[in-house]
């Protein structure tokens, strides 16, 4: 039986996406999310850490030690986080394909 999952909010999803390249600290995550979303999502530090806390509590990301930088904390995806990102990506890819085919159909008719 297939289990239905609740999709992550856009900000959480964007953070997971930003961490899929490499472990990052707070400000790097903000910059990456800004780039990935073409400046559509502008995260503030407080919103970022409130969301990071939620993701850590959900076991989707974890802190990681990076040599030479003791002051900043870095975060990376956990196995569960990778799995979740994969599931969400599958959903969005499917939605994008359906939307695209419908748009093509509409254009070809008009």
């Amino acid at each position: 039986m297939k289990r239905s999952i609740e999709l992550l909010p856009q900000v959480s999803f964007s953070i997971l996406m930003a961490l899929s390249l490499k472990p990052r600290h707070g400000y790097e995550i903000i910059q990456q999310v800004d780039t990935d979303s073409m400046s559509k999502i502008r995260l503030g530090p407080a919103s970022l850490y409130v969301t990071l806390k939620k993701l850590i509590d959900s076991d989707l990301i974890e802190e990681v030690d990076i040599d030479g930088n003791e002051r900043r904390r870095y975060y990376q995806l956990t196995d569960k986080g990778w799995q979740r990102l994969h599931t969400e990506m599958g959903y969005y890819t499917n939605i994008a394909e359906i939307s695209k085919s419908r748009l093509v159909k509409k254009w070809s008719h008009s």
Binding site: G26, I30, R42, G44, A46, S47, L48, Y49, V50, R71
Partner: protein
Amino acid sequence: MNKHQRILKLYAAGLRLYPKGFREAYGEQTLLTARDTLGTASTSIGKLRVGSHLIIDLLLAAVIENVRHAEENMAKPSQKTSGKSALAAALLGAQIVGIVALSYVYPAGTLQVITAPRAIDTPAVVWYLDSVMPSVVFAVILALTFVLLRRASRLSLWSKITWSYGLWLCGAVGYIMFGNAIDSVVSFYAPNGIPGPVGVGLGLGYDQIVVALIFLTGFYLVVQRLVRLLETSRTTVTK
């Protein structure tokens, strides 16, 4: 102190709006990231724009985090606390609920426990004091209660609420048994009250309905808490 530092100082002060646990775990990192973000603005107008964005973000996220923190507290199972702090929270929490309810049910000057009967020729100033005194007493007790309840912080929010209701329920029952509020709770007559839409059929006034609702809620919460305590002890035995 330049503009940059002033904004960061304001930001650091704003972090106090967050729950203690969050501040301890992420406060420094949040401030560090805010400093980096502010560093991207070079002009005065840019700093002001980024600074205002930071502050708005800080305030909005504080609301979200506090709501989540409260939800987490309520969802927690009852914590084991020392008898002393539990009793303190219970006694003091009961006051808050009791005072708010009593202040609503009895407008200033009508609570007979505080306002003694006076002769007709009593000076006006005494009448005035009589009418003001319940509010003053309520306010003082409420302030003390609030201060002392903060000290019993080892209890979860849920525990504080349930213990408060439990004690208020006991206190209120005692209060009624002494005859001060029998009419407002159990009587089906409302000679001085305005019957509410639900109470019209039963002959109840708004005050009776409010007190009845408080009692019912309190009773429900106490029963729920007792059930939870029983479940906890059963789990411990099984283990």
